[in-house]
Assembly symmetry: C2
Homo-oligomer: 196 residues x 2
């Protein structure tokens, strides 16, 4: 069975356990074996050190064949940084990496609405800049170009919501669509086998 690493910030939600259980249930429904952060949290919770958590996730990423990452903005403009780390890590390992976002706006629009809310953007220099002079990426991507760029360069796909759902931290509509697409991709896409 193909193992899928479910990256995302759901571990931080107050209702992490039922949300993550539902994500795993859906992954199994599409024929995947789910793994990822907090994937054993339906058993008795265990207090782990940061190093232990890192080691468990590192190992799970190496064992998985596919990554499906939730890059919905987390406390700001961009995806949860732990999730971004995992996307870069799994792309470097040659895994098949996919992502989804429940936010319909691209990165450049979110920098304007979330970070520079209401402030004037300088569009005169050929590159949009905030009032602090810092350039705003405008490649139309879901997040920083390394994230979308890495996923697209290796044959993956970033799935984006058409409209913002009522509960972006928990909505599973785009997640479901992503699983469906990944499960249906042609056999020629089979990711390289895990290095261990």
């Amino acid at each position: 069975m193909t193992t899928i690493y479910l990256a995302g910030p759901e571990v931080f939600l107050p209702d992490a356990m039922p949300i993550m259980a539902e994500k795993r249930r859906l992954a199994r429904q599409f024929g995947f074996e789910p793994t990822g952060p907090g994937s054993d949290e339906n058993q008795t919770p265990v207090k782990r050190t940061a190093a232990e958590i890192y080691a468990r996730n590192d190992d799970a990423m190496r064992r998985a064949e596919i990554c499906l990452a939730n890059i919905t903005p987390f406390r700001g403009v961009s995806a949860d940084p732990g999730t971004v780390y995992e996307i870069g890590f799994m792309i470097a390992l040659g895994k098949a990496v996919f992502a989804y976002s429940n936010h319909p706006d691209d990165y450049g629009l979110r920098v304007r609405s979330i970070w520079y809310a209401g402030l004037e953007i300088d569009e005169t220099s050929g590159r949009p800049r905030g009032p602090d002079g810092i350039a705003i990426e405008n490649h139309g991507m879901a997040d920083n170009l390394m994230i979308d760029g890495g996923i697209e360069a290796t044959g993956g796909k970033v799935f984006r919501a058409a409209t913002l759902p009522a509960d972006p931290a928990r909505d599973l509509t785009v997640y479901f669509k992503a699983l469906q697409t990944i499960a249906g991709i042609p056999a020629s896409f089979t990711p390289p086998s895990s290095p261990r």
Copy 2:
């Protein structure tokens, strides 16, 4: 000569070119050959597509032996997401990865001061949570535990400022100290050779 990939959000600054030139000059002073995003921008600027920028950075990361990443908070609580992607990517490739932050506060403190500014934090459940119920990592690390955890698990180090400098986006004091330490590390630390 050991090639060092200088990851960081300086490419977005209005004065990106002189800042990045100074970072490269300092790296050379310590015996490193610098590479990384925008590293040819002292020549005539070339307009590249997102895919071209990604491919150039991907290639530079594979060719480099060491990464030194600027994880000073960028437009919010955490490091620039492109930089975080690069840290995960280079750790997965087996490179020696180091990071520095010009912000002295750990991640948990910054979530409180930058994101939940002034709002009450719930400390009653054994895990601090914002008023939205979302848990706040409190491992005392510079950023999300995957970042510090990955760097520390592979023998690297996160260098942090003792106090916030006047210009956190440009200050090079901690960067200089990081270069000095990396240049002085024993030969037994020599990172594995690049896969191509």
